[in-house]
Amino acid sequence: MTELSQFFSHIDGTEVALASWQTVAMLVGALIFSVILGLPVGIWLSVTSPTGLAPNKVSYGLLSLIVNVMRSIPFVILFILLIPVTLALVGTSLGVKGAIPPLVLGAAPFFARLVETALREVEHGVVEATQALGASKRQIILHTLLPEAMPGLIAAVTMTAIALVSYTAMAGVVGAGGLGDLAVRYGYQRFQTDVMVVTVALIVLLVQGLQMLGDALVSRFHKR
């Protein structure tokens, strides 16, 4: 027992709690905006894709290229590249507030691709039957594609949330705070292995919790 408490001697409850709170705040804030931004982009990609409702080579090609470019920039570099934009948007590039714009721009393209895939997986026969019922394109998107893809869309949100957890850890390195920051500053730079263990454990718990929540929601919306 004493050995164990000795091992965890560097753990400061308040600091861990604060870092956890920062991570969750970054995650939730970035996730909300990623969905708001990525969902329409994903719908647009799916609708204009060669097999979509309204194929449009130029529009699809252009948007697809932008999404690919954003996705190929490593997140840490994207974070730094975006500092002027972040400053213009929220007035600071530090802390939770300063982390959200780059997190959103990192995660939204990823989410958009997942949305595109989820919508593409809706059975073509269902879309065709809705067309035969006289539905407009708008009605097909809103009342057929989105509800039918709901389990896939929830899985996409879950995957994006989990990707964001790892992004927030990286954001921590460049001044955003949170569990990643704690792990680097104490666990790595000061060789406090216990801090490293605790932060990693918390991140694992967070990811596990998100996955379980996501899975539960998916099975709730799955009517098969």
Partner: protein, 332 residues
């Protein structure tokens, strides 16, 4: 005048640089109130043909008219209105998996009108009762059998009280029992509501059971059109012969001499009569029945016999049979 009129309709698909004619100039008129079959082997263009009727496909050439109006000239909004009056069901059902049976039927009404009234709700319940699914109204498609899913699809297709129902291989994914149930339902809807039904199928048996007339499609062209009895018992084209062959009785190969063999086909009252025994009364012939079948078309019963008739009075028997309304063909 035909309710549905296709005039010299062609459809060419471009697939990976190669273009292929799914339909190569088809003209066809479908009358109000009939059940019209379109039959053909796979790749004959029959699915393309039915999809032209509600403009899920647009023709490369030719026109499709419904009630005298060229549907190629409709705007998107007018097309939506037309489609509300043109129900369609599919082989794969096309039900929304996220909605219950009731919600799926209601969905068709929601697409067509802004507000749903209590009358509409009642209409949905009536339709579900009509297709025999009242007890399953709150189940999701995944909880229903194939036949039940197709019944939901039929109720949905009828929600906006269409004049025409298009059936694209609607029974092809169903087991024999469910197929019977769905075919019976379609025949009832035709009889009770005066619904015009277009049935696309590759099974002559489906055509036999419910259709009034049928078009045989072969490689994008119409091989022949006619009443079901005509196409089934007196096919002119190779395509029609191939499709109907298995429905007719065949004499076993081992049954010996074929020079005296006859095929007798008879319809209506003759079926229940005793044409053959009357014709062979008091004359010097021997006959044996090698194969036979009595079955039904939409227009009534028919009988079909393969017989060997030999003896001095053979010709007289054939005359008597013909006189009593039996079609006699020599099979040699």
């Amino acid at each position: 005048m035909s309710l549905i009129q296709l005039s010299d309709v062609a459809k060419r698909f471009a697939l990976k640089g190669r273009s292929q004619d799914a339909l190569a100039g088809v003209s066809l008129g479908i009358a109000r109130g009939e059940i019209f079959g379109v039959i053909g082997p796979s790749g004959s263009g029959k699915s393309t043909l039915i999809r032209l009727i509600n403009r899920l496909e647009t023709p490369t050439r030719g026109t499709v008219e419904i009630d005298g109006a060229d549907i190629g000239k409709l705007t998107q909004a007018q097309l939506s209105v037309l489609r509300h009056k043109l129900g369609m069901i599919f082989q794969s059902f096309g039900l929304l998996s996220s909605k219950t049976a009731r919600q799926n039927v209601l969905f068709a009404l929601q697409l067509a009108k802004k507000t749903i009234t209590a009358d509409d709700q009642r209409r949905v319940d009536d339709l579900l009762a009509r297709v025999g699914l009242s007890e399953h109204a709150d189940k999701y498609p995944a909880q229903l059998s194939g036949g039940q899913k197709q019944r939901v699809a039929i109720a949905r297709a009828l929600a906006n009280a269409p004049d025409i129902l298009l059936c694209d291989e609607a029974t092809s994914a169903l087991d024999p029992e469910s197929t019977q149930g769905v075919l019976t339902l379609l025949a009832e809807l035709n009889r009770d509501l005066g619904l015009t039904i277009v049935v696309v199928t590759h099974e002559m048996d489906v055509v036999r059971q419910i259709c009034d007339r049928v078009a045989v499609l072969d490689a994008g062209r119409i091989a022949e059109v006619g009443s079901v009895a005509q196409v089934l018992f007196d096919p002119q084209s190779e395509a029609a012969k191939a499709l109907g062959r298995h429905l007719l009785p065949h004499a076993p190969v081992v049954a010996g001499a074929t020079e005296t063999r006859l095929r007798l086909t008879y319809f209506g009252e003759v079926v229940t009569g005793d044409a053959l025994s009357a014709a062979t009364q008091g004359v010097n012939v021997r006959f044996s029945i090698l194969a036979g079948q009595v079955s039904e078309l939409k227009t009534g019963p028919y009988g079909h016999l393969i017989v060997d008739i030999s003896g001095p009075d053979r010709e007289r028997v054939i005359e008597r049979l013909t006189a009593s309304g039996v079609r006699v063909e020599a099979l040699s």
